[in-house]
Amino acid sequence: MTSAPILELRSVEKQFGDLLAVERVSLAIAEGEFFTIVGPSGSGKTTLIRLLVGMDVPTRGEILLRGERINETPANKRPTCMVFQSLALFPHMTVGQNVEYPLKCRGVDPAERRRRAEACLGLAHLATSYYDRPVTKCSGGERQRVALARALAFDPEILFFDEPLSAIDYKLRKTLEKELKDIQRETGKTFVYITHSLEEAMIMSDRIGVMRDGRLVQVGSPREIYKAPESRFVSEFMGEVNTLPVVRRDDGRLFCEPLGVAFDPPPGAAPSRGVLVVRPEDMRFAEDDAEDAIRGEIFNEYLLGSRVQYQVRAGGVTLLVERLRDLERPGGETRLRFDPADSLLFAE
């Protein structure tokens, strides 16, 4: 990070009764960054974002906005705002009134309000003809855009998002993800986004923080998270992976009991017993009968658009293989191999 962080968390914790919902989270987010916090439901990400926008107060630790402590500053006194999961549009108002609301709160005069509201609607790809439409008459996608335009009208220093796209159908979600990234580039604003979908996080983010059980388990660029997950949890959170229980033999190789095959270990740390993680796309069908080839049988295949996923049964274990469609294989007996450099070893 080159500049001083716009938002900094120092050992932030939030406790509800006996439950530690957020545990010792430390993080620095740079100005203009698209930062995504990703985690399964119940991982504490929504609690964390509520602390960041000022709807809850942390139990311990410090939240700093441009170096200034804002722990107790309520949401309506912070120069940040959030797009809610429910969008939280004002149902009794028109699109225009919704978008102008933050400006109205600031006492901006009506003509200027309208001008800025229309500019923000434009940024959110919503025609100005929507201005007088009641929000209750808007479709799901249009409401997304209204919520975004309203947040942009606030002109926040940091714009937070709490899974706003989770209720949107796949195709529209993909469009909106890209638009959101474009808007972030265009405005140069700092975006902090929350989602349970790592795929969504990968598409949009400059950096990703993965949360589990209230803790931030790994922070890094999408590439780092993908290439070098630091734990089995993160690697499995990326999507479907093959996990092989292995034991290190005297010769240094990793023996997988159920498959009856030994593999070369990946470079780096070497626990004596653990789980070898191999992504489906790193598995290949082997022609030769090498020593570390896994013998199995294809019993199912799924078409995933441009790729095909094969389920291969080997020694009571079901392995997943994903290949491009033009590399399709017929069913039946087969052998699988992978490059040890593409595998990850985690201690149990």
Binding site: V53, G54, M55, P74, A75, N76, C81, M82, F84, Q85, S86, L87, A88, L89, F90, P91, H92, Y101, P102, C105, R106, V135, T136, R143, R150, F154
Partner: protein, 304 residues
């Protein structure tokens, strides 16, 4: 509750009157039929009778005499406007106080954890299991001279409060106390139409708490708040026991005038004329409120 009945009856008749025979009537008509009969016989018929009587000559006991306006003239000439004014004043003041008292409680109940909300609701509902008159008499025993409060303080400290009944404020207190549930429950219904997220979003957009209340919470909860206000206004306009028991005749409300016209006065036409005026007043309030009320929003049908 006259407002609901008035609205329900014509609506049911309108949708249910079949041109070709009852067998083709929609199921809704058959479901509404028992209530329709009950309202027709028990509400509309007596109402019609009261209206007829109000145009009969003084002291007559038949609704079929020659119509006259003399009862209405009497009401104006004989200073009945004073009891009208008192009833109206009491209804307005108690409704205003109820709005202020019930709102925070309704807000607390809608925002409380479910179990606590149930407890609070039960606490509010519990007094309804005891008849209104008995509860009012209880307050009389408590507040009267040498009553529980006065006597107790006198015995313990030698200084009593004297009688706290027999004044106007205690009548207002009685109205507020008795009609709290009628304000509270519609209000809870209204406030539960305000999503917590929407409230938070307004604050997040930089609104102060007051602005959020004014721009977001109140407009969204308005149907419930208005129904509660309407119920309390209409019922306390015709209230009787509070002024009689707690007020002990310090003032006379229109409901007491109506009662005495029908009983001691044996002047049914005058009682009827007074009743008609009260009904018109209440009806006007209902009409004005209903014009501004979206019942669909009340039932949560047009939520964003």
């Amino acid at each position: 509750m006259t407002d609901l009945a008035e609205k329900a009856a014509p609506a049911a008749e309108g949708s249910g009157a079949p041109a070709l025979g009852l067998a083709k009537a929609p199921a809704g008509f058959w479901c509404a039929l028992p209530m329709l009969l009950l309202l027709g016989l028990g509400f509309l018929a007596p109402l019609l009778l009261v209206v007829l009587y109000s145009f009969m000559p003084r002291g007559s006991f038949s609704p079929f005499g020659s119509p006259t306006l003399e009862n209405y003239v009497d009401i104006v000439e004989q200073n009945f406007h004073i009891s009208f004014a008192w009833s109206l004043w009491l209804a307005l003041v108690s409704t205003a106080i109820l709005l202020l008292v019930a709102y925070p409680l309704a807000l607390a109940i809608t925002r409380a954890a479910p179990r606590r909300a149930v407890l609070l609701t039960v606490l509010v509902v519990a007094p309804l299991f005891v008849a209104e008159n008995i509860r009012l008499q209880g307050w009389v025993l408590f507040l009267d001279k040498a009553g529980v409060l006065d006597g107790g303080l006198e015995a313990l400290f030698g200084v009593g409060t004297g009688s706290l009944t027999n004044n106007v404020p205690v009548i207002v207190f009685g109205l507020v106390y008795i009609y709290l549930p009628f304000m509270l429950f519609p209000m809870i219904l209204g406030l539960s139409n305000v999503p917590p997220d929407v409230r938070e979003a307004a604050l997040d957009m930089g609104a102060s708490r007051w602005r959020m209340f004014r721009d977001i919470e109140l407009p969204l909860a308005a149907p419930g708040v208005m129904i509660g206000g309407l119920l309390c206004f209409v019922i306390s306009l015709g209230a009787f026991s509070e002024a009689k028991f707690l007020g002990k005749g310090v003032i006379v409300t229109v409901a007491q005038d109506i009662e005495s016209a029908f009983t001691f006065g044996q002047n049914w036409p005058r009682g009827s004329a007074l009743s008609v005026l009260v009904i018109l007043l209440a009806g006007a309030a209902v009409f004005l409120a209903m014009r501004r009320l979206d019942l669909d929003a009340m039932l949560g049908r047009s939520k964003a």
